[in-house]
Symmetry: C2
Subunit: 122 residues, 2 copies
Amino acid sequence: MAWILDDSRPIYLQIEDLIKTKIISGVYQPGQKLPSVRDLAAEAAVNPNTMQKALTELERSGLVYTQRTSGRFITEDTAKMTELKEQIAREQLQLFLKNMEQLGLSRDDIRRLLETAWKEES
Amino acid sequence: MAWILDDSRPIYLQIEDLIKTKIISGVYQPGQKLPSVRDLAAEAAVNPNTMQKALTELERSGLVYTQRTSGRFITEDTAKMTELKEQIAREQLQLFLKNMEQLGLSRDDIRRLLETAWKEES
DNA sequence: ATTATTGTACTACTTGATTGATACAATAAT
DNA sequence: ATTATTGTATCAATCAAGTAGTACAATAAT
């Protein structure tokens, strides 16, 4: 794992994003055991509490779960994982649409913007 | 003006958004003079410095400008205003697309999500 | 010239977030 | 039974953001 951290945002949030991406993209497989808090912390050169916080946040989202003294694992509930992804997507979408509406853009404007952006990027 | 503020986000950001919306939606017309910092602050039941901060931020974006001792005015440069709107829109769009990509959604997925959301909402 | 009104600068206080050091608790491994 | 490893709780230190109080500076209005 890369552990490229900057000071633009809280470290624990950056870590959370990094791990979340690994999970969603399948680098971490369902059921897989994560390294211990201390090991992860050492690997990322970060205080164990900071790593702990990132993991706790991840847990709130349901992507990982804990077994008290044996460690943390990626959830095996792939259905839940999918549902979670969709929920996040919907939320992001709503936020986006709200912002666009506030700027006074119509649906056609948005469609046009999207296609233009995609055309430019390849 | 409503001045409905909560404590979920910094007050000055909420104020900034409120005013920005009024400007973009045309409630505040180009060239129009804004009430003084103190008056706005009183109206919003907020410390003058807080209002000042919101207005300074708005100024950074170019939506308002200051004449040292006569007050603040909405910019008359409607072209600039339009350009600004488009820039904000593009930024929002890029952010949105990045998030969607991180979730592993394809372009078709995004198109589908959009149309679905719009269909549902009316 | 004087006064009132404008934006601004400066400083301090408060609060919350972030990070860190350390100790605890539970249990798997031996 | 003992030990090592796991996550967790607690407390403190630090830091930055936000807000507020007050005084200053410039100039339009009189």
